[in-house]
């Protein structure tokens, strides 16, 4: 085994991560190579020094502050969720109201004319329709024909204004 190959495996050798064959090869090489066995000793020392580093101490109250920060975050998030729910509810209500308002007819030309529910006077009905020139919702042809015939029967002479086809 060459020193270069041995050196690349020193850390794994030190940590017992090589298989049996590789471990034996490295052991044999180092028994005859002072440089590689020195390298191994230095790696071992570095590992021991790192392991022996003193534990750093946090400033007093650091952990209490950190835990408090997490608690505050949790409370804030809970509040945000509640607010989100309220906003969502308000938004849904607003959308509903707008939708209802939009569903109503708007504009002057769509407002239905007041219709008499009972006791239709055929003459006034025909003249009303003639005046509106078919724009009113009284587009019931049968009813109008009936009204028209009634009007004729009533001897109303207004043929020039009647526009029923």
């Amino acid at each position: 085994m060459k020193c270069e190959r041995c050196n690349l495996r020193l850390t794994a050798y030190l940590d017992g991560k090589l298989n049996a064959r590789e471990t034996r090869e490295l052991s044999e090489h180092m028994a005859n190579c002072r440089r590689c066995s020195e390298d191994l000793r230095e790696f071992e020392q570095i590992r021991a020094i790192l392991k022996g580093l003193p534990a750093p101490a946090p400033r007093p109250g650091f952990w209490d502050d950190s835990i408090r920060a997490v608690r505050m975050l949790a409370v804030q998030k809970r509040r945000m969720r509640r607010l989100d729910f309220r906003y969502a509810s308000g938004l849904a209500a607003a959308i509903g109201i707008v939708a209802v308002l939009l569903s109503f007819p708007h504009g002057t030309d769509r407002v239905p004319l007041p219709l008499p529910e009972t006791a239709i006077n055929p003459a006034s009905l025909v003249s009303l329709y003639a005046r509106e020139r078919g724009r009113s919702p009284l587009a019931d042809v049968g009813k109008l024909r009936f009204a028209s015939s009634q009007a004729e029967a009533a001897d109303i002479e207004d043929n020039g204004r009647l526009d029923v086809q």
Binding site: L8, L10, T11, A12, D15, K17, E38, R41, E42, F43, Q45, I46, R47, A48, I49, L50, K51, G52, L53, P54, A55, P56, P58, R59, F62, W63, S66, I67, A69, V70, R71, L73, A74, R78
Partner: protein, 184 residues
């Protein structure tokens, strides 16, 4: 819902208290100073609490936190501007401002590595700071915290072969850096 959340905070706090020394140790050795350590820990704790529902009870809480800390640390490093790294081979400024050679500890005459580590805490930390972040993470987790290669692999999110090579190269760099201080 609120009671469940309160209970979650209690459990989280208990686990943090139990592992606070290890969490602080790893964070400190990654950052190298108290201010950044505190920032890293607080960010990590907040991230950890956010993901706490994914923590499996009965597994190692500290290893789970280290995994989150790794992400927070690496993200933080990427966001930070590059800093100048001081060479350990250079001298140190003396009282009059002139450069003086660093004090070198002879490890051969004082084989107690623990005492050596305590004496050399600052230079060792500077040598750690000089390592690339991913190497530093692996060295800190394996050599300071004593995690197995498998545990380091999981925390550092890299294959075991990568752990092995990073650990080797990290230790080799430290060995070279500390030669100015330690006569092996």
């Amino acid at each position: 819902m609120t009671a469940r959340r309160d209970n979650e905070i209690e459990r989280f706090e208990a686990l943090v208290r139990e592992h606070q020394s290890a969490i602080y140790r790893v964070a400190y050795r990654l950052c190298g100073n108290q201010d950044e350590t505190e920032d890293l820990i607080q960010e990590t704790l907040i991230e950890s609490f956010e993901s706490f529902s994914r923590f499996r009870p009965g597994t190692h809480f500290d290893r789970w936190v280290f995994r989150i800390m790794r992400n927070t640390f690496i993200d933080g490093v990427r966001r930070r501007p590059k800093v100048r790294i001081e060479s350990l081979d250079a001298g140190v400024p003396g009282a009059g401002g002139e450069l003086q050679p660093r004090e070198i500890v002879d490890l051969g005459s004082s084989p107690d590595a623990t005492m050596m580590a305590q004496t050399l805490d600052e230079p060792i930390q500077r040598a750690l700071d000089a390592l690339p972040e991913e190497f530093r993470l692996v060295v800190v987790l394996a050599d300071i915290e004593g995690l197995t290669y498998e545990e380091v692999s999981e925390a550092a999110r890299c294959p075991i072969g990568t752990v092995r090579s990073r650990l080797h190269r990290g230790r080799a760099i430290l060995k070279e850096k500390l030669k100015s201080y330690v006569r092996f």
